[in-house]
Symmetry: C2
Subunit: 433 residues, 2 copies
């Protein structure tokens, strides 16, 4: 039985128990959310030893880090180092997006090494396999695609991105609508190329029931990919994007009916004032399925700083309904991220997630800030460092900037507002300076 | 005549012309905004050779960088390097917040070297002067304070922060209300200490007319400081903060009546869901005076990353009415920023400002993103680097990550979505890969 089927039958699994404990909520509440399809708990039955983490309504906002090889950087070892960096920085999930080198090997190595859920994109595998067999991308067969899906599920992928909503109708809408960037989703672009070349409908759409069967067998959560996500501010929230989202909503329902857990992927590049509307549309059109957004980034002009453009978008998205943030690193739009980029990306997304969790009323979120405020007020540096989202960096900066003193801070020195006001208001003050 | 007085008489000054040109709007439109007090154009008559930049309604969002010495780091040279870094990164304004070493000298050096407007806080000067004369902070006289104000104005400060709204009534509200952090504004803390110790009302409030006279003489823009700004998420939008804001609103009116340009300073630490309300309250209570916010940062738990927490808050603030963002650097809450911190802080704030300008409909904002999208679509790397908000960093990352290739990108390599889709949709595609 999948987690969804168990939940519907009123059964609280050990994975639900663990995930509920992590959130500090009752297992029964979590079970209800899963039963309604508003929460997913991606745990492939073949992925041993992972820490179950749930995603969705009423839970803390989760953060995913994309890793994986490419043509130019095929080394698996580097990706395993990035995995470690992502986990240390607090990622709740990683996706293996490998397209270079031995991608079977990287997936298996990442699945084995990861203590958190792992997502994959079987379509990349199908494509690389076809190319290796001397066939071009457009010569992939339906069987190639489903073979890759089955392989990833069997290997233990906890969720898979499947671009089921890129249909001929949606591509026609794209062609007629006009767009600056057309398609920027890799999977979306592969499917589109394949469909246009072969003049055939998307097999992940026409054979969706077959996909559901495989997913159900291993309790893999389907992450319905948004092949038509906007690739620039100008293209945001247009007809092709929303038409695909409507299709994804239908597929959410069919997935749930089949006992398969489903979440939905979302943009991308979105101007500030359209983010809330995008979140709301997903929730209405996709029946409150957990929403997994990429960023969104709020301007196109900041390559080198897209961890910041996406932290802005991610915070607004999460506070208006997104459940799961895919990180964006400083390397985005420039090349494959390094280990340092991965760390920066995870921390930036966690900041966005936490800022949203404060206003979402997530248990413990506000309390964390309150503890920090108290430590700050008392100039308790040890506690401030402990409480920092990145204690290592906070400690390093603190030490670099304050070489002479244990208690003070070089920003204000003796003119410390906390100290001055505490004295004159007659408040207790524990900090020295 | 001040810019405000000229504007009211229908005169378009040469500063208005220059500032309007910079915005790409008509000088007449700018003049109207200044006449109504919804735009300020801080240009001290004694600050020669600066590039006039206007702040307020309908204009692009501006970014300020705080620099200045402290006890532990009294060297003026370092601050001049930071000034240079801030300007290169695109700051529209700097504030000299020096409190260490020869602060007369640092102010003069910064005023002379800065091509953009300079703000100062005369209260810091009054305090340091009093201490040098062997008198403690609480023994400052009214004359000490006004002497410092006059000195800063005469030296050419384009705007000065004056904590006029920290009144005995507001402090009483603070005492009764209860707060985690009490007061975190340095100027606010000095005034509070002084008032409580001397049991006297704030002279910047009781002698506000005297302040207006000085400001008018040099056409200094008053930046009404928010001494009661919240210092942590928990304290945001509370009664003491809003009571002070109401007083600032009255002072805005009195300033305008006297022909003095006035803007208002704002928080601080604000949870995501209170930012828009804060912007709206300032606009209603302060008669649409330009709003100059510090951050705001949206969580307390990320020391080392407060350029990111403030980019999130700043983007939301600016898109809902803030006109001027004071940057926050990665050093915030840890110590005095380095030159590198200054640069990171300015870029992060500029990203926030630009993301907001896109949705504010500021001229040229959306167009910038569109140009980048086109360059990206065509894999035109040279143009992408040119258009980047930080071309130097974008170029460096691009080269580091793509050592073998001129045209491609190591993220997707041959599996480039732009290329694949362009081919199959029959779009023209100029990029090689």
């Amino acid at each position: 039985m999948t987690q969804l089927e168990s939940a519907r039958k009123g059964i609280i699994t050990k994975e639900m128990e663990a995930a509920a404990e992590l959130e500090g909520i009752s297992p029964e509440l979590l079970r209800e959310g899963i039963a309604q399809g508003e929460i997913v708990l991606p745990c492939n039955i073949n992925h041993k030893g992972i820490r179950p983490i749930a995603v969705g309504k009423g839970l803390s906002t989760k953060v995913n880090a994309n890793i994986g090889t490419s043509d130019a950087y095929p080394e698996i070892e580097k990706e395993l180092e990035k995995l470690k960096a992502a986990i240390e920085a607090g990622a709740h999930s990683v996706m293996d997006l490998s397209t270079g080198g031995d991608i079977d090997q990287s997936r298996k190595a990442i699945l084995q090494a990861s203590p958190v859920m792992v997502g994959t994109v079987p379509l990349y595998q199908a494509l690389v396999d076809a190319e290796e067999k001397g066939r071009g991308m457009v010569e992939m067969t339906d069987e190639d695609i489903f073979h890759a899906v089955e392989k990833h599920c069997e290997d233990g992928a906890d969720f898979i991105t499947v671009h089921c909503g890129v249909t001929l109708e949606v591509i026609e809408a794209l062609r007629n609508n006009g767009r600056v960037m057309d398609i920027v989703s890799r999977g979306g672009s592969f499917m589109t190329a394949w469909m246009l070349h072969n003049q055939k409908e998307n097999p992940l759409y026409t054979q969706y029931d077959r996909l559901l069967e495989i997913a159900k067998k291993y309790d893999v959560t389907l992450s319905l990919g948004d092949g038509l996500r906007p690739g620039c501010i100008e293209d945001a929230s247009d007809a092709p994007q929303i038409r695909e989202l409507i299709i994804l909503g239908e597929l959410v329902k069919r997935g749930r009916d089949a006992g398969v857990q489903v979440m939905v992927e979302g943009p991308g590049h979105v101007p500030l004032d359209q983010i809330t509307a995008n979140m709301k549309m997903e929730k209405t059109l996709c029946h409150n399925a957990p929403f997994y957004v990429l960023g969104p980034i709020v301007t196109d002009v900041a390559p080198g700083y897209d961890h910041i453009t996406s932290a802005i978008g991610g915070a607004i998205a999460a506070s208006s309904g997104a459940d799961f943030l895919c990180y964006v690193t400083p390397a985005e739009h420039l090349g494959l991220p390094t280990m340092e980029d991965v760390k920066e990306g995870v921390i930036a997304s966690r900041i966005a997630a936490h800022a949203a969790d404060i206003v979402k009323g997530v248990k413990g979120a506000k309390e964390w800030d309150l503890e920090m405020a108290k430590a700050r007020k008392n100039l308790d540096w040890e506690r401030q460092i402990q409480l920092a989202i990145d204690p290592v960096k906070a400690d390093r900066l603190r030490k670099e900037k304050n070489t002479d003193t244990q208690d003070c801070c070089t920003m204000c020195g003796k003119f410390c507002a906390y100290k001055i006001v505490s004295e004159h208001l007659g408040r207790t003050f524990q900090g020295g300076c």
